[in-house]
C-alpha cells in the first residue's frame, strides 16, 4: 500500500485520483474526499482537505498542522500503515513531513532530492537537487552511494557510473568540499568517474551526478527550462507560415519521439533518498500520467527494497555517520529547514 497526498497538484486532486486509478496500485489517498471519487476500488480515501502551500515555512507548518494531508500521509508511512509516500504537492513540506515522520536511515546525515533527468541518452540521476543548500564532503559521499543504489534498484543499472559535479574534469578542480569528496569517492567501492561538468548532464556520460543542493538545483532548473524554451521556440517556428506548416506536418511524427523522451511525466518526478521508506515528489505540473509514473516508481522502490540496499551499501562502504555507542542516531526528529 502506498500513501498518496493528492493536494497541491496544479491540475487539482481529481487529476491525482485519476493517476492513482491508472496505476492499479493499492493506495491510501489523502485529500478532499469529494474530489477523489474517481480513484477506483484499490484506493482507500482519507478525507484531508487541508493543504500546506509552497509559501509556508515547511517545518513549522508540518509541526503545527497535524491535519494537513501531507502530514497525515507521512504519518501513515511512519506508522507502518503504508510502505511509501507519493506527494503531488511541493517539495518543502514533503521533505519536512518525510524527515519528521518517516525519519532518516540510521547514520544518514540528511536526505537528498534525486531527479531522473529526461535526456535523450538517459536517464541520468542528479542529486541533491535542492533538499539542502550546502553540502559537506561526507554528505556528498553518502549522496553518491544513495544515488547508485537507487539506479540499481529502481532503474536496473547493474553497476552505475557515478560522477561528481564540478567546474572541470581534473581532480584538482572545484571547491574544498568537492576535492575532499573526490578523494573519498576515489578510494571507495563505487564505479567512480571522477569530476564531471555541466556538459555531462544533457550528454548522459554517467548514470549518477552528485552535486551540492545549490548547484544541483540550478543545474536541474537550467536544463528543464532550456528544453522547454527550445522545444517551444521550435514548435512556434514550425507552426508559422503555410510552407512550414506543411513541413511541420511531415516532421511531427519524428519529433514526437523526442518530446516523449524529454517528458518529465514519464519518469515520475523526484525521489527523496536517505529516508526509511521511499518518498516520491511528483512535479506540481503533472497530470494523471505523471502521477501514475510516480506511484509506479514508489512501488518499484518498495518491491526492490531500495532502502535496505541503500543502508547496506552505506554501511559496507563505511560511509555512515559514526555515533557514540548507545545513541540512537537517525531517530531524532531533527530536520533541515533550508529546503
Amino acid at each position: 500500500v502506498i500513501a498518496v497526498d493528492a493536494n497541491g497538484a496544479d491540475q487539482g486532486p481529481a487529476a491525482v485520483a485519476e493517476g492513482v486509478r491508472r496505476s492499479r496500485v493499492p493506495t491510501l489517498l489523502f485529500g478532499p474526499r469529494m474530489e477523489l471519487l474517481s480513484a477506483g476500488d484499490l484506493a482507500e480515501l482519507v478525507d484531508a482537505p487541508e493543504t500546506i502551500k509552497a509559501g509556508d515555512e515547511p517545518v513549522a507548518a508540518v509541526r503545527s498542522r497535524r491535519d494537513a494531508s501531507i502530514v497525515q500521509a507521512a504519518a501513515a508511512v511512519g506508522e507502518g500503515r503504508a510502505e511509501a509516500l507519493v506527494s503531488a504537492g511541493s517539495t518543502g513540506p514533503t521533505l519536512a513531513a518525510g524527515t519528521i515522520s518517516i525519519k532518516r536511515i540510521r547514520g544518514v546525515f540528511r536526505p537528498a532530492l534525486a531527479v531522473l533527468l529526461p535526456v535523450p541518452d538517459g536517464p541520468v540521476l542528479l542529486l541533491d537537487a535542492g533538499a539542502s543548500v550546502q553540502a559537506r564532503p561526507e554528505h556528498l559521499v553518502q549522496f553518491a552511494y544513495m544515488g547508485a543504489c537507487f539506479m540499481q534498484a529502481c532503474v536496473g543499472v547493474e553497476r552505475p557510473r557515478v560522477g561528481l559535479l564540478s567546474v572541470g574534469e581534473e581532480s584538482g578542480k572545484g571547491t574544498p568540499e568537492i576535492l575532499a569528496a573526490h578523494d573519498r569517492l576515489a578510494e571507495g567501492t563505487l564505479d567512480f568517474a571522477g569530476n564531471v561538468e555541466g556538459f555531462d548532464l544533457p550528454r548522459a556520460t554517467v548514470d549518477v551526478v552528485v552535486a551540492d543542493g545549490f548547484s544541483g538545483n540550478v543545474a536541474l532548473k537550467v536544463l528543464e527550462s532550456t528544453v522547454k524554451t527550445l522545444t517551444g521556440e521550435i514548435a512556434d517556428r514550425v507552426r508559422s507560415g503555410p510552407v512550414s506548416a506543411t513541413g511541420g506536418l511531415l516532421i511531427r511524427g519524428k519529433l514526437r519521439g523526442l518530446r516523449d523522451q524529454l517528458d518529465p511525466e514519464r519518469v515520475g518526478g523526484a525521489i527523496l533518498l536517505g529516508l526509511r521508506k521511499p518518498v516520491v515528489v511528483a512535479h506540481g505540473s503533472f497530470g494523471p500520467r505523471g502521477i501514475e509514473s510516480a506511484v509506479r516508481l514508489a512501488q518499484r522502490a518498495v518491491s526492490e527494497d531500495m532502502v535496505g540496499r541503500t543502508a547496506a551499501a552505506l554501511e559496507s562502504a563505511g560511509a555512515l555517520r559514526s555515533a557514540p555507542a548507545g545513541s540512537v542516531v537517525g531517530a531524532t526528529s531533527e530536520t533541515s529547514s533550508d529546503a
Copy 2:
C-alpha cells in the same frame, strides 16, 4: 589597437588571423608568424609560437614563460601598447596573464568571467561563469555592478535588470552568502530583481544573472550542452527517412533563424570584468566569425569606456574594497589560482 593571442584555437592560428582580418580593427597579433599572414594590413604580427595549454597550472605557467603568446599579449596591454586583449586560447592562462599584467581595477576584489548567453529572448549576461569557485557576498555585489555596466556600455541596455542566482525566488532562499548579497543589492542603486532561479537563464527574465563561479560555471555548461544535444537530436531526426527529409527541407529556413540566435559565435565569447582593460576570451571552438565578433566586442568595450564606467559605478555604490590610506590596492600582482 587590440592585442590578440592567436594560439589555442581549435581551428588553429590561421582561422584567428582570418577573423582578425574580417573585423577590420587594428591589432597586435601574437602567434606563429607564418600562420598569421592572412591577417591583413591592419594587423601587426608578433612572432610568438609558444603556447600555454589548458592542462598547465595557469599562474605558474604565466609567471615562468615570458615568451608565451598570451603572456606577451597581456603585457602589451599592461604596458599601454594595446587597449584591450582578445584570447583565442583557454580561460585559465588568460585570466592569470590578465590579472598579473593588466591588473584589477583599484578596489575590485577579483575579476569575473561574464558570458552573454545566446538564448531566444536574450542576450542574458551570466557572471561569474568560473573565474573563481567560491564567492563572498562583497564579491557578488561587485559582480552585479560590473555586469550591469557591461550591459550598458557594450550591449546598450539602458537600465539593466539584475538578478541573483539562487534556489528560489523568495529573499530567504539560498546560502548565507546569497542572503547577505541579496540584502546589500536590495539597498543599492541597481534595478535589482532579487533572487532568480535556473529557470530564468533560458527564459531571459533579467538582463544580468549574478552567481558564484561554481554554480555559474555549472549553469553555463548545462545550458550550452542542452542546446547542443537538443538541436543535434532534432537535426538527426529531421534528416532520417525520406518523408522527413522533405519536411526537413521545408522547415529548414525557419529553424536556421533559431540556430543563429543560439550561436555562441555571434556574441564573441566571454569577457573578463574587473580588470583595467577589457579582456575577451573567445571560445576554443570559434572559427573566423567568432573571432571577428570577439574583436568587435573588445573594440566596443574600449570605445564605450566600459572600464571607466565600471570603476565609477562601483565607487558611487560604495562597493569598492576599502583600503588603509596610502596603500596601493589593485596594484598588487596577486592573482587567484583557483580559476
